[in-house]
Structure formats: structure tokens, C-alpha cells
């Protein structure tokens, strides 16, 4: 009844307005529905294209410059075996606070013959270990500023523990695949048009840069550009204000592990970064809380598709074996994660949460853990 009353009022007011034209006379304002193309952010599309261009240029530069680092890596840093490569990738990711550029660098080293197939695989796995430290490191800074230990560190520690516990068996399984060449048949048979485009646009530009700079500097410029391209890519992603939305309610629900696993994989496939896809969880709840039950499978899924940018790098390097290395990484970690989910998931979850509780229970345990994960990559480099 209230609705029909309102309609009558509107009609009456319109007639009055027609008969008594005044300065206040206004045409009836109908809500204008925005066309779908108006919601497209041209600036974000531009940023995305720029980040893709810089990524391709960076890989080309790193590929060109990698050969000059042979001496530095093998003689100065003594990176000669799989353990060294693992530790180097791990520590390198600490230094630049990101895993993906290190993984891309390992492919260029492999393409240049600086490291072998197992070395590249080890360096990539190590880079993921280092990358998962980032969330913990930010939490650690909060602890130093006086915030609660458990609140600040729990997400970082869970991320780190899940990565350690899935990537380590994944590395062993992947190593077997690579040694026996069981997945060597899976190599890309595409990219003709992409390569033609790169040859026409990127390669001349990379060549121009290379004429002015020494080779080692070309590699460093490539590394800088790849970091810049990831930073630009992050800016392309939508920043949704979900706090007040219906999605906020979802943070209260306990989802099936398989659902969270797929969600984590899907979100990271778009965002390409585990730490970024974890940060997407924050606005899903008004208070920034997530269910313990939901987090672990989400990270497990995210840890698989985080390789998507490295897979693109492998295509750009134009080395079919580099593609196989990344595919083996994705495949073996997916197998380990799915096996955990369908067999011992509740025990695994308890193990991860108990470990996290132990580490964050007091400063002594935290310091012991931090020292171990900081010293371990250095030991691996020095073996």
C-alpha cells in the first residue's frame, strides 16, 4: 500500500510542475544505468599491457645477461650442486622480498647453461620458500612494534609451514620426474605469433640496452624491470571494498577443504602471488578474521597456481626444457597437496596448527625458528 501511495504522489507533483513552470522546474530524473563499457578502467588495462611488456622485456634482458654471470655464480658464490641452487634461490628471494623474479632468473640461468635442470628446479623451489617468508617478515615487524605475537604471526607462519611441508615432498617427487624424464613430452607447441611479436618489438629494444651496458648490468636491469612489472601488475588488480558486502558473511562459514583449495588456486591464478591472494582474504571479514579451517587448503591451492607467471617466463625464455621444469613443479606439488587433502588432511592440519602455536608461544621459540630459516639457506649455499 505504501508503494502505490508513493506513486500517486509522484504523478501529482509532476502535473503541478507542468502547470507552474518555475526556475525550480526539473525534468523527471530517471536513474541512468551505467553501460557495461563504462565500468572498464582504461588506465588499468594500460597498466596491465605495460606490465606485460616490461615482463617480456625483463625476461629477454635477463636471458641475454645471464651468460655473463656464469663466473660469478660458479666461482664467487660456488653454486655448483642442487643444494647450493636451492639455498641460493631461497636466500635470493629473501633479499628481493619476492619469489617470482628469482624463479624467472633461475630459468634464464638454466637457458644460459649456468645451472642444470635439477639446479633450476631446486632454485625455483627455494625461491618459493623465500617468498613465503614475506608475510611472516611483515608480521615480525608488527611484533617488534609491540603488537601481539600470535595475531601478527599466525598467517605468515601457517603460509610458511604449508609451503615447507608441501614443497619439500613436491621437490623430491619432481626431482624423480625430472631425473627419469617422465614428463619431458609435455612441451609447448605454441607461441609462433608471440615470438614474432617479441622479435619485432622487444628484441631490438633489448639489443639497444645491451649495447650501452655490460652484460651483468643487463641482467640487473632485467631483474629491476621484472620487479617493476610485478608491482604494476598488482596495481591492475581490483581493490574491492568487501567489508560491508554480502561476501563478508562468508568469512564466518567453514568451507569444505576442497572448496577452499580450488578458491585459493583460482584467486592466485589471477593475482599470481600467494601473499597478494592472502591479503585479499582480509577485506572478506569486517574484522579481518578468517577461519583456521579455511586457511590451510586455501594456501595449498594458492601454492600451485603461483607458478603461473613462471610458466609464462618459461615460454618467453623459449627453452622447452624450462617449460617442463615448471610443469613438473606444478604437477608434483598438486599431487602432494591433493594426496594430503584426501588422505591425512585433519592430521596434517593439526600438525601445521600445533607447529604454528609452538613457534608463536614465546619469544625463545620464535627466535629459534627465525634463526633456523635464516641460516638454513646460507648453509645450503655453502655445502
Amino acid at each position: 500500500m505504501q508503494e502505490s501511495h508513493d506513486v500517486n504522489q509522484i504523478i501529482h507533483t509532476t502535473i503541478q510542475a507542468q502547470h507552474l513552470p518555475t526556475t525550480l522546474e526539473m525534468p523527471e530524473i530517471k536513474p541512468i544505468q551505467a553501460a557495461w563499457w563504462e565500468s572498464i578502467r582504461v588506465d588499468k588495462i594500460g597498466l596491465f599491457i605495460l606490465s606485460l611488456f616490461l615482463f617480456t622485456l625483463a625476461i629477454t634482458l635477463m636471458k641475454d645477461g645471464a651468460r655473463s654471470l656464469n663466473h660469478l655464480l660458479q666461482n664467487t658464490f660456488a653454486i655448483s650442486n642442487t643444494a647450493n641452487c636451492f639455498g641460493f634461490g631461497w636466500f635470493f628471494a629473501y633479499l628481493i622480498m619476492s619469489g617470482s623474479p628469482v624463479a624467472a632468473a633461475s630459468l634464464t640461468f638454466f637457458d644460459a647453461g649456468v645451472i642444470d635442470k635439477m639446479g633450476a628446479f631446486a632454485m625455483i623451489t627455494g625461491s618459493r620458500f623465500g617468498a613465503s617468508f614475506i608475510v611472516l617478515f611483515i608480521g615480525f615487524l608488527y611484533v617488534l612494534r609491540g603488537r601481539d605475537r600470535s595475531t601478527s604471526l599466525s598467517m605468515g607462519l601457517i603460509s610458511l609451514m604449508v609451503t615447507f611441508s608441501t614443497y619439500l615432498p613436491g621437490f623430491i617427487l619432481g626431482g624423480i620426474f625430472l631425473q627419469f624424464g617422465w614428463l619431458d613430452i609435455l612441451q609447448p607447441r605454441f607461441g609462433g605469433m608471440l615470438y614474432s611479436f617479441i622479435d619485432l618489438t622487444i628484441v631490438p629494444l633489448a639489443g639497444l640496452i645491451a649495447t650501452f651496458l655490460p652484460n651483468w648490468m643487463v641482467f640487473c636491469v632485467g631483474l629491476g624491470l621484472i620487479l617493476l612489472s610485478f608491482s604494476l601488475f598488482d596495481k591492475c588488480l581490483p581493490r574491492a571494498a568487501l567489508k560491508e558486502s554480502q561476501l563478508g558473511r562468508m568469512s564466518r562459514l567453514v568451507f569444505r577443504p576442497s572448496v577452499m583449495f580450488l578458491l585459493g588456486a583460482l584467486v592466485t591464478m589471477v593475482s599470481m602471488s600467494v601473499s597478494l591472494s592472502l591479503s585479499i582474504l582480509v577485506p572478506f571479514s569486517a574484522r579481518g578474521f578468517v577461519r583456521r579451517e579455511n586457511v590451510i587448503p586455501y594456501i595449498m591451492g594458492a601454492n600451485i597456481t603461483t607458478f603461473i607467471d613462471t610458466l609464462l617466463a618459461a615460454v618467453l625464455v623459449r627453452n622447452s626444457s624450462a617449460f617442463t621444469i615448471i610443469f613438473v613443479g606444478i604437477f608434483s606439488i598438486a599431487i602432494i597437496s591433493i594426496l594430503i587433502l584426501i588422505s591425512t588432511y585433519s592430521r596434517y592440519r593439526s600438525f601445521i596448527l600445533d607447529s604454528v602455536n609452538w613457534i608463536s608461544t614465546n619469544n625463545r621459540n620464535l627466535v629459534i625458528f627465525m634463526v633456523i630459516i635464516f641460516v638454513l639457506p646460507l648453509i645450503l649455499v655453502l655445502i
Binding site: 595475531t151 599466525s154 562459514l253 568451507f255 569444505r256 582480509v282 579481518g288 578474521f289 578468517v290
Partner: protein, 278 residues
């Protein structure tokens, strides 16, 4: 109020005390109702396996359990089908069924029969298992979902069926952790009183439950535990020595596919009777 007491398979129950056990437990609920309960006895293996004098045996067990009058029902074949058929067509307010042991390997492929009954019955179900005794302490696990039928059922049905003065602990499990390092996390460690005082969503759920239950004459104790939902409910049920765990089951179609089956885990792992309100 209509109550259905289901005995899953009489041919496997060798001892009469086991029938008496469920009947004594059920008698606590039937005393408060005017209508006579229906007792359905299932014989899985067929008429050949019917124990001699089953009707006399049942009547004697009911007398010992102080169930003075009841409507007997004898069914042959799959007990799960029979129980669900009766429960879903008979407009019952409560179904009481005893848990049956199931082989660990078999459980990998198929849920326990008590779980299947509890999930598919349209009415609230009590799965009688483990330590059975007089109901004095009730653990009410409230998820705080706005569409949870738990509180309404407690006030309108449980209070009538159990006229004694039971103590009810209202448990809310916070399994949340901070999603990022910069999140304020004081609430992630707070107890029930603190959450009520600062009016967090959990505190308001507890406050609403206390208010409604105390109006119905129940003694209530709010409690918050932090950890995994199933683990904390089971831990609380053991440490508090409760006589009945009450949980809600209110999944719609899409939730059934997306959400974890916490009630199944609680029914399977609890060592005491579980009431599933729906």
C-alpha cells in the same frame, strides 16, 4: 509432542540391556509429553531372524525404563530407510536413534547409519551413544547463524520435554585467526564475558541466547573457546562432562556442496549423546 524411538537392528542386539539403555535415555524426553512415543523395532535380516518373544521383551524393557505406554512398530529390511520413512511422514518433533558401530574401512565409503539418519531426517534427531545418564548438563553449541533453529527449538520444545532444571552451557567456538599481520586481534583471545561486554558479534549471540534461555527457566553459562570448531566442541564436551551435546544443522542446497560437514564429524567423534536440531 510426537517422539519416535528407533531401534536400528534388533537381531544384532544380543543383550536386552542395550535396548533398555536407549529406552531409559528416551524416557527422560517422553515423560514431559502427553502423546505416547512410537517405538520402531527394525529386523534387518528378515522374519527368520526375529528373536523369540520380541514383543514381550520390548514391553518389559519399556516398563523397566518407566515408559508406561507406547505405540509399537515392527519393520523388516533396511533400518535407515524404514526409520527415515516413518520419521519424515509421521510429523515427529524428535527422533531418538542409537548409534551403531561401523567398521573403520566401511566408514571411508559410507557414513554411519546414525549419521545418515540424522542428516536426512526432517525432524531433530538425538543420536544416543557413549556415556548415557540422566540429563543434567547440556552443551548447546551455537554457531550464531541467523537462520539457526537451535534457540527456538530449545525454548519451545526441549524445555517442555525436559522439565527438570538442567544447566545449559552455551558454547561458541571462535576458530578465526587474523587474516593479516596488521589486524587487531584482542577478540581472538577474549573470553565470553569480555566479548559480551564489548558487544562483538559473538558476544551479542551469547547475550541473546542467555536472555532467551533464562526466560524459559534454564540456568545458562556462556563459554567461548578458541580453536578448530569440531575439536573444541569435543574437548569441551569431555572436560565439562556434559550429558547431551546440542548442535544445529541448517544447510540449504548450495551450502551442502560448499560447506564442511561439521555435524557429521561431531556425531562420529563424540562419546556422548548428540542432539541435532534442524
Amino acid at each position: 509432542m510426537r517422539i519416535l524411538i528407533a531401534i536400528q537392528d534388533l537381531s544384532t542386539i544380543e543383550n536386552v540391556p542395550q535396548i533398555e539403555n536407549i529406552l531409559q535415555f528416551a524416557a527422560q524426553f517422553t515423560r514431559g509429553t502427553d502423546e505416547h512415543p512410537t517405538i520402531q523395532v527394525n529386523i534387518e535380516s528378515g522374519v527368520d531372524c526375529l528373536p523369540p518373544h520380541v514383543d514381550t521383551m520390548l514391553a518389559e524393557a519399556c516398563i523397566r525404563a518407566s515408559i508406561t505406554a507406547f505405540r509399537p512398530q515392527m519393520r523388516f529390511g533396511d533400518p535407515v530407510k524404514n526409520i527415515l520413512l516413518e520419521a519424515n511422514s509421521g510429523n515427529y518433533d524428535l527422533l531418538i536413534v542409537r548409534d551403531r558401530p561401523n567398521h573403520r574401512l566401511a566408514r571411508l565409503f559410507r557414513a554411519k547409519s546414525a549419521v545418515r539418519i540424522a542428516k536426512r531426517a526432517n525432524c531433530p534427531v538425538i543420536v544416543v551413544k557413549g556415556n548415557i545418564g540422566p540429563i543434567q548438563h547440556i552443551l548447546m553449541c551455537d554457531s550464531g547463524s541467523p537462520d539457526s533453529p537451535m534457540l527456538g527449538y530449545f525454548i519451545t520444545r526441549v524445555v517442555d520435554m525436559l522439565p527438570g532444571k538442567q544447566d545449559t552451557t552455551i558454547l561458541h567456538v571462535m576458530s578465526q585467526i587474523s587474516a593479516g599481520p596488521g589486524v587487531q586481534g584482542e577478540q581472538l583471545r577474549a573470553d565470553a564475558e569480555e566479548l559480551i561486554e564489548i558487544h562483538t558479534p559473538e558476544g551479542e549471540i551469547l547475550e541473546r541466547d542467555i536472555h532467551s534461555l533464562e526466560k524459559s527457566g534454564l540456568h545458562t553459562f556462556p563459554k567461548v573457546r578458541h580453536g578448530l570448531v569440531v575439536d573444541e566442541i569435543l574437548a569441551e564436551s569431555r572436560s565439562g562432562n556434559y550429558d547431551l551435546i546440542t548442535i544445529g544443522e541448517h544447510h540449504n542446497q548450495w551450502q551442502h556442496f560448499l560447506l564442511d560437514d561439521l555435524s557429521r564429524q561431531i556425531i562420529e567423534q563424540a562419546d556422548r549423546p548428540v542432539l541435532i536440531v534442524k
